[in-house]
């Protein structure tokens, strides 16, 4: 029997300290702010206002507008990322195929670079005045004049989704590839013996095995999409006509443009709860997968 030692406590202390300072205090501070009036342009009014900030946020037009934009972006982005990731994973899972090594080497690149930079790159590609996409389309005769992709709500959303897929897709692909690689090869041999083609093998072996991982990827990507901020900041600034002003961006503008900390904090808490709900679902899925 060893006497209780200080060693484990000493080793976890630095990590615990940093994490605690930046978790407990922010949480309390956010809650405090959200139930007080706190507008930086009216520094003398700091009354306790109860849930008024929350009521103002939820009762406001821009909140529902940004929720709608968030939902539209999240649905498009998650579907696109998952399909793209699945496609890439299936391609990477074919060892003998020419070109699969090339793909393996480059696939992580977009994931590794800052999302600010991926926003800058795609914003320049889609640029309505000098973008290379317009240039290519014009040179090949697909369009007769340049299209202002980023100035129309629908195409602006689409541009953001493409940039998002390019950046986030690799991660989804890596997750799905890991799941593909643990499918026993005998199963494929068995269905092939039964005369099944590639499509049926995919449907009856791959899909059932992938279900759990697909669910995880869907939830994880939903969390990532809802929390998107950098891309909006660099690519669209929330426009045109608030089409890309998703909720993280809306909270940012409430705080740093309109300087309403109380309402910003209330909004941030709502966003936090929304994400927390998604995380709970994620963890439940993770646990049920472990149990299976």
């Amino acid at each position: 029997m060893t006497r209780p030692s200080l060693y484990p406590y000493a080793t976890i202390l630095p990590v615990m300290l940093v994490v605690a300072v930046f978790t407990v205090y922010p949480l309390l501070h956010s809650v405090y702010l959200s139930v007080h009036e706190n507008v930086l342009t009216r520094p003398l009014d700091n009354d306790f206002v109860g849930l008024q900030n929350f009521r103002e946020v939820v009762g406001g037009y821009y909140f529902w507008r940004s929720l709608w934009s968030t939902a539209v972006f999240a649905v498009m982005a998650v579907a696109a990322v998952t399909l793209y990731g699945l496609g890439v994973a299936l391609l990477l899972n074919q060892p003998g195929v020419l070109g699969s090594t090339l793909l393996k080497v480059v696939v992580l690149l977009p994931w590794a670079i800052p999302s600010v930079i991926s926003g800058i790159i795609w914003r320049w590609i889609f640029d309505g005045d000098y973008g290379v996409l317009n240039g290519l389309l014009l040179a090949t005769g697909v369009v007769e004049r340049y299209v202002p992709w980023m100035s129309q709500p629908f195409t602006a959303r689409l541009c953001m989704v493409i940039a998002h897929v390019w950046k986030q897709g690799p991660l989804a692909a890596v997750f799905l590839l890991a799941a593909l690689q643990i499918i026993p090869a005998e199963l494929y041999d068995a269905v092939r013996m039964d005369g099944a083609g590639r499509w049926n093998a995919f449907r009856f072996v791959t899909v059932p095995y992938l279900k759990a991982t697909l669910a995880l990827v869907l939830i994880y990507e939903t969390i990532v999409a809802v929390a998107t901020f950098d891309l909006v900041y660099v690519m669209t600034g929330g426009g045109p006509a608030d089409a890309t002003a998703i909720i993280g961006w809306y909270a940012y503008t409430e705080i740093f443009r309109f300087l309403n900390l109380g309402r910003g904090a209330a909004l941030a808490i709502i966003l936090g709860l929304l994400l927390l709900g998604l995380v709970m679902i994620y963890l439940r899925l993770l646990r049920s997968e472990e149990a299976a």
Partner: protein, 294 residues
């Protein structure tokens, strides 16, 4: 047989298409970075401009090119912030390397205790560290600002390092403790029986055999810090501490920006993470998989 070959040709084509989708944006940035502004502001742009290093030369030396026809000359004035790229990259490196070092040292120490040492409160401390990650960044922006302001650390490296440590520690601890748990315990037990302390066992036995995991953890921490934008934007104000993403976002959202200069900045800024992604791709891939699946 013929069908087989057709299939594998289709799959190869798929790989090439995806690889093109991934690489084409980088390639176009590379082309833009050696072009003149005038070539990029034509409709359509010159797809294969005659290459020049003038953009890079301007970023490094501030020297403007003689050839005014290829370079719309006034953009050199309106994009003058690109001269700050090197200081901003320096800031990014100082912050990211510090975060990386602290993650490897303190993260490994804590993770090893969580993985192998029994002590009371272990489970709750572990859960606390992990759940702290559930707070979304935007939700804690104001309080983080308040903390940093109270510590009088606004516009310093230390502020960013502290905040990034709070973001990266949970993942590092989780990742490394899972990793350590998968190492064979017998060697460590033998070392302990031989009179090694926990600490020297960690240093002499665990660290050497966990080198790939430590490398992946280091790379993740580096990338997170190097790529972070929101808090760098909020907590820094001058080039004394401003990191690369903040500078580039400011340059890029300027409507009168020179796209050729911006492209050169982008190419310079992505070299470090791109190198990491290609060189360490095996460790990173297995690390990523471990982070969701286990």
């Amino acid at each position: 047989m013929k069908r087989r070959r057709l299939e594998s040709a289709a799959l190869s084509a798929g790989c090439v298409v995806v690889a093109l989708f991934i690489l084409a944006p980088f390639a176009w940035m590379l082309v833009c970075s050696v072009a003149g502004e005038a070539e990029l502001t034509r409709r359509p742009p010159v797809f294969a401009p005659s290459p020049t290093l003038a953009n890079y030369a301007f970023i490094f030396t501030g020297q403007m090119p003689q050839d005014k026809t290829r370079h719309g000359i006034f953009v050199w004035q309106t994009s003058h912030e690109v001269r700050m790229l090197m200081p901003a990259l320096r800031n990014s490196f100082i912050v990211a390397l510090s975060v990386m070092a602290a993650n490897v040292v303190f993260g490994a120490l804590a993770a090893y205790s969580f993985a192998r040492v029994a002590f009371s409160g272990r489970r709750s401390a572990y859960v606390f560290i992990l759940t702290s990650r559930l707070l979304p960044a935007v939700a804690v922006a104001i309080p983080f600002y308040a903390i940093v302001q109270r510590l009088e650390l606004l516009d310093t490296y230390r502020a960013l390092i502290l905040v990034y440590l709070a973001f990266t520690f949970p993942f590092t601890v989780y990742f490394l403790s899972v990793y350590f748990r998968y190492l064979p315990a017998e060697v460590e037990e033998a070392a302990l029986l031989d009179g090694c302390t926990r600490f020297s066992t960690l240093l002499r036995v665990v660290v050497p055999s966990a080198a790939p995991g430590l490398m992946a953890a280091a790379a993740f921490a580096f990338m997170t810090a190097y790529n972070e934008f929101l808090f760098a934007l909020l907590l820094t104000q001058t080039i004394a501490a401003q990191t690369m993403p903040v500078l580039l976002a400011a340059v890029a959202t300027n409507p009168a920006v020179s796209h050729a200069l911006l492209a050169a900045c982008v190419i310079l800024a992505i070299i470090p993470p791109a190198l990491l992604a290609v060189v360490l791709r095996r460790y990173l891939t297995s690390g990523l998989i471990a982070s969701v699946a286990r």
